[in-house]
């Protein structure tokens, strides 16, 4: 009797794709996601390169398909705690964290949040915006339900009073549940390098030095500024912006000596987006190598240069200093092509940090018994012949959990589908 069920750990685009491919061929899929909603990084993006599709627009239908699919059971706000067994017969213990909201009753109407008196920084907006202690991480969240952040909740009870559906339950307890599955797919994605580890760039000290993910939230219509590009210190529209590539990557000091693969591409995309919003803003990209590889990207870079006037400066800037009055930034750099030392004054600096293994993925690897590589990403059993198998039989991996690879969305989707093929091969076939 073949156990045609799978647990997918991680509800970003790779995990979603793997889930749908398996669910569509009759597998029972348990999609585990540790945050309150699936969607992952793609939900945080404004647009995707090089077609400039609205990221949420192309992601949302897939998220909804997952939530509606009769073969997919969403285990949101949950984490994998223990794994026993082998291929065809794994027993996975999943911790169901308490939301303090009954998602079968909650309609996502938001009235509780409207009345909640506690406001805290919003993780989804990379701490740039705020949310309440009872919140929905973003408007298109799946499942469409609220969550109570007990750490910040003052237990005033207003939400309970206002909820028409009686969905708030502050007495919920964490539950551990066991699931018997035939295979496991890891799709835990990435986190970003903490740029404050490079003190010369001033991240964390200077308000107008932001990461690219923070910039995405600023540009996104559903973000903290409604899509208006304004700078954090004074809310003014930045007139000069610089992107700095390879912050933490290709850098022996921090161990992330690999290239994160997508930063050159997304910085060009963001530069073009900024120019579309504010044609009078000067945008410069400081790079070492402009890694806009693959179909359509060189053409995208050419367009950025000629049509949008984005400046490309081959330089890895040394230091960023802040003018304490204006909060403008001054960077000193060597333009390696012109052979001169220059400095520039900027309203906003965007750092493109290395993409690192998702926090906690190391612990998950230990729980699964899977090996990780020197950077902490899940190691493939063989780079060429078994690129989506982990070192444990019956456990597969896709998306950025595998490490940079090509790194972009189509790549994650292909890996997600590839793990589905492997699961089908292993559970049904002769492999």
């Amino acid at each position: 009797m073949v156990n045609k069920s799978v647990m997918v750990v991680g509800g970003g685009i790779a995990g979603i794709q793997a889930s749908l491919d398996l669910a569509n061929r009759g597998y029972k899929v348990y999609l585990v996601e540790r945050s309150p909603s699936i969607g992952g990084r793609m939900a945080q993006l404004d647009k995707t390169f090089p077609t400039m599709d609205c990221s949420m627009c192309i992601l949302a239908p897939k998220m909804i398909e997952c939530s509606h699919h009769h073969n997919v059971q969403l285990l949101s706000y949950s984490e994998v705690k223990a794994v026993k067994g082998t291929t065809g017969d794994f027993v996975v213990t999943v911790l169901r964290k308490p939301r303090y909201v009954d998602i079968t009753k909650c309609t996502g109407c938001n009235i509780c949040a409207e009345h909640c008196p506690v406001e805290v920084p919003n993780e989804f907006d990379e701490q740039l915006g705020t949310r309440k202690a009872v919140y929905m991480p973003f408007p298109q969240a799946v499942p469409r339900a609220m969550t109570v952040d007990k750490n910040n909740c003052i237990e005033c009870g207003l939400c309970i009073k206002m909820c028409q559906a009686g969905a708030v339950d502050l007495k919920q307890q964490p539950q551990e549940e066991d699931y018997n599955v035939g295979a496991i797919i890891v799709a835990t994605g990435f986190d970003i390098f903490d740029a404050s580890q490079i003190p010369t760039y001033g991240y964390g000290r200077y308000k107008n030095v932001v990461t690219s993910l923070e910039l995405e939230r600023l540009l996104c219509a559903s973000g903290p500024t409604g899509g208006h590009l304004i700078r954090p210190s004074d809310g003014k529209i930045p007139r000069t912006i610089a992107f700095i590539q390879c912050v933490g990557s290709r850098d022996r000091r921090f161990g992330a000596t690999y290239c994160s693969s997508i930063c050159c591409k997304y910085s060009v995309k963001d530069a073009v987006l900024i120019k579309e919003h504010e044609p009078n803003t000067t945008v410069s990209i400081f790079y070492i190598d402009m890694r806009a590889f693959g179909r359509g990207f060189q053409e995208f870079v050419n367009r950025a240069k000629s049509e949008y006037g984005v400046r490309f400066v081959r330089s890895s800037p040394g230091e960023i200093l802040e003018d304490p009055a204006s909060k403008n930034l001054r960077i000193w750099y060597e333009d390696t092509v012109a052979g001169r030392i220059e400095n520039a004054e900027l309203d906003l600096v965007v750092l493109c940090p290395a993409l690192i293994p998702s926090k906690g993925s190391g612990d998950l690897a230990k729980v699964l018994g899977a090996e990780v590589d020197q950077y902490g990403f899940f190691k493939a059993a063989d780079l060429i012949t078994s690129p989506v198998d982990t070192t444990v039989q019956g456990i597969f991996v896709c998306g950025y959990a595998l490490g940079p690879k090509t790194g972009d969305i189509p790549d994650s989707i292909m890996q997600g589908s590839a793990t589905a093929a492997r699961v089908a091969e292993v559970l049904e076939g002769s492999a």
Partner: protein, 144 residues
């Protein structure tokens, strides 16, 4: 009085465009995703194949006041349904003649092949068609 009114405002033609789902409608979508700007005069009607376009649709369009009609489909040899576009091409020749008979300039009807990857070409086509129809002035049947 009507004539004076028409002369006062700049003439903005109304152009109907029939686009086939597989090629030209997708090309129009690509023009959108790429954000190529073009004039607002066009109204797109989606069909599965340019071969679906009955001559009645086009003649009715002119009768009801369209200043121009644009038919777009897959390039010869690439029709999703093999030869629908060839059939449209044949009808095109007959339609031009019919328009002559009805007193409408045949140049108001245009047939072009646009593939799913030709977003820029689609935008350029709309700009060009709008410009041409503007120069021709309003549909003579409107003022007749």
């Amino acid at each position: 009085m009507e004539q004076a009114k028409l002369e006062q405002k700049e003439f903005e033609p109304v152009i109907l465009a029939f686009c086939c789902n597989w090629c030209s409608y997708a090309g129009a979508d690509l023009a959108g995703t790429s954000r190529f700007e073009y004039p607002t005069n066009v109204r797109i009607i989606r069909v599965m194949c340019s071969g679906r376009i009955d001559p009645t649709f086009i003649l009715s369009a002119f009768r009801w006041g369209a200043d121009g009609v644009l038919i777009t489909g897959c390039h010869p040899g690439d029709c999703h349904y093999v030869q629908g576009n060839y059939m449209m091409e044949r009808r095109f020749a007959f339609l031009k003649e019919a328009m002559n008979q009805l007193g409408i300039e045949p140049e108001r009807l245009r047939l072009e092949w646009i593939s799913a990857g030709e977003g820029e070409k689609f935008a350029a086509l709309i700009r060009d068609t709008t410009q041409r129809i503007k120069q021709m002035g309003p549909n003579p049947l409107k003022t007749a």
